[in-house]
C-alpha cells in the first residue's frame, strides 16, 4: 500500500526502503524524537519529503491530490484538536470537511459507545478531560471510515484499562471493515499483542 524509497526529511527521517502492507495492522515503535510522527505526516502528505519518493497504491504522493489523499488516509495526531461546539459538532466536523454525508444521531451515539465515551451529544466538547477528548477525536476519524487510519499514540492520554479497550475496539473495527491501520505506540505490549507488523525506528531510520 505504502512504499517509501530513499526518503529524507530534514535531519529527522531517512528511510532507504520501507513497505507498509494493505489491510493490516502495523505498529510503529521507537524512542521519542526518533521520527515516528514525521513518518505519519509524510504518509498523510501533511509534509513532503525533501528527497526520495513515497508511493500510495503504486502512485507517487507528489502526483496525488493532497486533499483527496487525506480523505482516504486520515491522520489522528497525538494531541488532537477539539473544535468549539458540542460533542456532536466535533463528530460531524470531519464529515463536513471531507464533504461526506452527515451521520444520524443514532450513528453518532454508536461511535461514542465504540470509543467508550459515555456522554451526551449536546455536551460542550471543550469541557471533556484529556482522555475523553482523545476518544472523541478517535470517534471523529472512525466516522469518516477512511481506507487508512494513521494514529499517533491513540491511547497516550488514557489509563491502561481504557487504553486496552480502545485499542481492542480499533483493531476490531479495522478487521471488520477490512481497513488499514498504522499506529504509533509507546507500548511494545500493545504492538506485539495487536499488530500484524511492527516497524521500529531509531534516530530517523528503520532498524527493524
Amino acid at each position: 500500500m505504502f512504499l517509501l524509497k530513499d526518503v529524507k526529511y530534514k535531519d529527522i527521517l531517512y528511510i532507504k526502503d520501507l513497505e507498509i502492507p494493505r489491510k493490516k495492522i502495523t505498529s510503529i515503535v521507537g524512542e521519542s524524537g526518533s521520527g515516528k510522527s514525521t513518518l505519519l505526516k509524510l504518509l498523510n502528505k501533511l509534509i513532503s519529503c525533501d528527497t526520495g519518493d513515497v508511493f500510495y497504491n503504486n502512485q507517487p504522493l507528489s502526483e496525488i491530490d493532497s486533499v483527496e489523499l487525506r480523505r482516504n488516509v486520515v491522520l489522528l495526531p497525538q494531541s488532537p484538536s477539539i473544535f468549539s461546539g458540542s460533542i456532536k459538532d466535533n463528530l460531524l466536523i470531519g464529515l463536513k470537511f471531507s464533504e461526506k454525508p452527515l451521520a444520524s444521531d443514532k450513528k453518532l451515539v454508536e461511535v461514542l459507545k465504540l470509543v467508550k465515551l459515555n456522554k451526551e451529544l449536546s455536551e460542550y466538547a471543550n469541557n471533556l478531560s484529556g482522555g475523553e477528548k482523545q476518544r472523541l477525536a478517535i470517534g471523529r476519524v472512525l466516522l469518516l471510515e477512511p481506507e487508512v487510519l494513521l494514529l499517533d499514540e491513540p491511547s497516550s492520554a488514557l489509563d491502561e484499562d481504557t487504553e486496552n479497550m480502545i485499542i481492542m475496539a480499533l483493531v476490531n473495527y479495522t478487521r471488520e471493515k477490512n481497513k488499514t491501520l498504522i499506529m504509533i505506540t509507546h507500548s511494545k505490549n500493545v504492538a506485539y499483542q495487536f499488530s500484524d507488523r511492527i516497524i521500529e525506528i531509531k534516530k530517523g531510520t528503520v532498524i527493524n
Binding site: L46, V67, S81, F83, K96, F97
Partner: protein
C-alpha cells in the same frame, strides 16, 4: 446664505490655545506626552499647509498626469502604512496581495464613484478626484490593516486547528474559513458602525466642511450619503479581495500549512 468667515492669523493662533491647555494638563498630571503632542501638532500644521499649497497648484493646473501622480503617492503611502502598522511579520506574498487588493479595490471603487455616481468631467478633475480618493483610500487602509492583523493572528495562533482540519480532509479554504470570516468582520465593522452614528452622534468631516464653506446642508448630505456608500463599497471590496487571496499564502501547492512554529 452667509459667506465663509475667513480666519485671520490671530484667530488661527487662538485655536492653538487648545494645545497649550492640553500641554498644561499633561504636565500638571505628570504624563510624559508633551513631546509627542508638540511634534504631532507641528507635523499636522506643516503637512496641512503644504497640502493646501499643493492643492491650490493642482486645482489651477489641471492635468491628468498630476492627478494620477497624487493618487499613486496616496496609494504608495497607504500600502506602506499598512505594512508598518501591522503588528505581525508579513510574508512577501502577503505583502503583494495587500498591495494588489488596495490598488484594485480602491481604484475600481474610485472610478465607479467618480465616473458613474458623480459623473465628473473631465475624468481627472482634481477637485473631486483627490479628496474622494483620500477618503476611499484612507478608510480602505484602516479596514485592511484591521483585517491583516486579524487574519495573520488567527492563522498563527490557531494553526493547530487549521492543521487538524487539513488532516480531516478539509481544503485550505475550508480550514481557513473561520479566520477569513473573522478578518473580514473585524475590517468592515468600524465602517458599518460609523454609519449608525452618522448625523446623530457626529457630523462627518466632509459634510461639515461643505456646510462651513457655504453649501446647502441638503447638498452636503447628498454628497455625504454617496461618499459613505462609496467608502463601504471600497472597504468591502478591498478587504474581501485581501482575505480571499491572503489566506492562500499560508498554504503551499500541496495544501500544506506553511506556518513554522
Amino acid at each position: 446664505m452667509n459667506g465663509v468667515i475667513d480666519l485671520q492669523l490671530w484667530q488661527m493662533a487662538a485655536a492653538y490655545l487648545f494645545i497649550v491647555i492640553l500641554l498644561f494638563i499633561v504636565r500638571a498630571r505628570g504624563i510624559s506626552r508633551e513631546r509627542e503632542i508638540l511634534v504631532s501638532t507641528i507635523r499636522m500644521t506643516i503637512q496641512l499647509i503644504l497640502t493646501g499649497y499643493i492643492l491650490v497648484f493642482l486645482f489651477e493646473n489641471i492635468n491628468p498626469l498630476y492627478t494620477i501622480s497624487v493618487i499613486a503617492i496616496m496609494e504608495a503611502f497607504a500600502i506602506y502604512n499598512i505594512f508598518t502598522r501591522t503588528k505581525v511579520k508579513l510574508s512577501r506574498p502577503l505583502k503583494n496581495i495587500i498591495a494588489f487588493s488596495m490598488l484594485f479595490g480602491t481604484l475600481s471603487s474610485l472610478m465607479f464613484f467618480l465616473l458613474v455616481v458623480i459623473n465628473i468631467s473631465p475624468w481627472y478633475d482634481p477637485r473631486y478626484y483627490i479628496p474622494i480618493a483620500g477618503m476611499l483610500i484612507g478608510n480602505s487602509m484602516t479596514g485592511i490593516s484591521l483585517g491583516v492583523n486579524r487574519l495573520v493572528d488567527g492563522m498563527i495562533s490557531q494553526r493547530h486547528l487549521v492543521e487538524s482540519a487539513l488532516m480531516l480532509g478539509a481544503t485550505p479554504k475550508m480550514a481557513a474559513k473561520d479566520y477569513v470570516n473573522n478578518a473580514f468582520d473585524a475590517a468592515i465593522l468600524p465602517t458599518v458602525n460609523s454609519m449608525v452614528g452618522m448625523g446623530i452622534v457626529f457630523l462627518p468631516g466632509m459634510m461639515t466642511g461643505q456646510i462651513l464653506s457655504g453649501i446647502s446642508p441638503i447638498t452636503a448630505i447628498e454628497y455625504q450619503i454617496a461618499i459613505m456608500l462609496g467608502i463601504v463599497g471600497s472597504v468591502a471590496l478591498t478587504v474581501i479581495l485581501f482575505v480571499q487571496l491572503g489566506y492562500k499564502t499560508f498554504f503551499n501547492e500541496h495544501s500544506q500549512l506553511i506556518i513554522s512554529d
